[in-house]
């Protein structure tokens, strides 16, 4: 299935886009989606992000669906 992934900060810059689409098998997890996006980033020096599904950070083992809103969340620093 095709998963749209929202990107921010250094991840967005490294991939030159605010959103990428990756192909993963059915039953894929948040970790699988992250691995698929990482393979696109080449050797860029990027902090390992968490994955948010529908605006909540999830465990990497959480299954994902094409209808989910999925985003990579690098280490945050507001303020």
């Amino acid at each position: 299935m095709t998963i749209r992934v929202l990107l921010f900060a250094s991840w967005s810059e490294a991939l030159g886009s605010r959103v990428v689409e990756v192909e993963v098998g059915s039953g894929a997890t948040a970790a699988d989606v992250l691995a698929a996006v990482e393979s696109r980033a080449g050797g860029a020096s990027l902090a390992r992000p968490a994955v948010a599904v529908n605006q909540r950070i999830v465990d990497p083992a959480t299954p994902v669906d094409e209808r989910d809103e999925i985003a990579l969340i690098p280490p945050v620093a507001g303020g």
């Binding site: 900060a9 902090a47 948010a52 985003a71 945050v76 620093a77 303020g79």
Partner: protein, 143 residues
């Protein structure tokens, strides 16, 4: 009670008015601004990226938690995103309460939580023209 993630300048006086109530003896305002130097480098501004819809929802949760925990509805927080020049405000929190200890604690709670929980990221712009995403610097540091 209000939380806002916005691209417009922050007006601290408006926040103070918003939390005013005749039963509140104590009002706290915290503002964060872009410093001219960070880790020894001259900074000209910070570009704040955000996962806007999630950041807005998370900031609302944080404000609601503070209101509940410290017993006052009079808590507001605003986080600016986009480019913020040196000296401009990036964040402001106001809290008011009948008693000062709770007003201090509520404001402190909101700022500490948002620093750790808001999906917001800084790209520092330096006087020498370079710019560096701070989330990537974390990556360098933990290698």
């Amino acid at each position: 009670m209000r939380a806002l993630v916005a691209r417009t300048a922050i007006d601290p006086a408006a926040l103070l008015q918003e939390v005013a109530a005749s039963g509140n003896g104590a009002t706290l305002l915290f503002t964060g601004s872009v410093r001219d130097v960070n880790d020894g480098r001259a900074v000209t501004g910070i570009d704040y990226d955000a996962y806007e819809s999630m950041a807005a929802a998370e900031l609302e949760r944080i404000v609601a938690e503070a209101a509940q925990r410290f017993g006052t509805p009079d808590v507001v927080a605003v986080h600016r995103i986009g480019y913020v020049a040196v000296g401009e405000l990036s964040v402001a929190v106001a809290a008011a309460h009948p008693r000062r200890a709770a007003a201090f604690d509520a404001a402190r709670y909101v700022i500490e939580e948002l620093k750790h929980r808001l999906p917001v990221w800084k790209c520092e712009h330096y006087a020498d023209g370079e710019r560096v995403w701070q989330d990537a610097r974390v990556a360098e540091a933990v290698r």
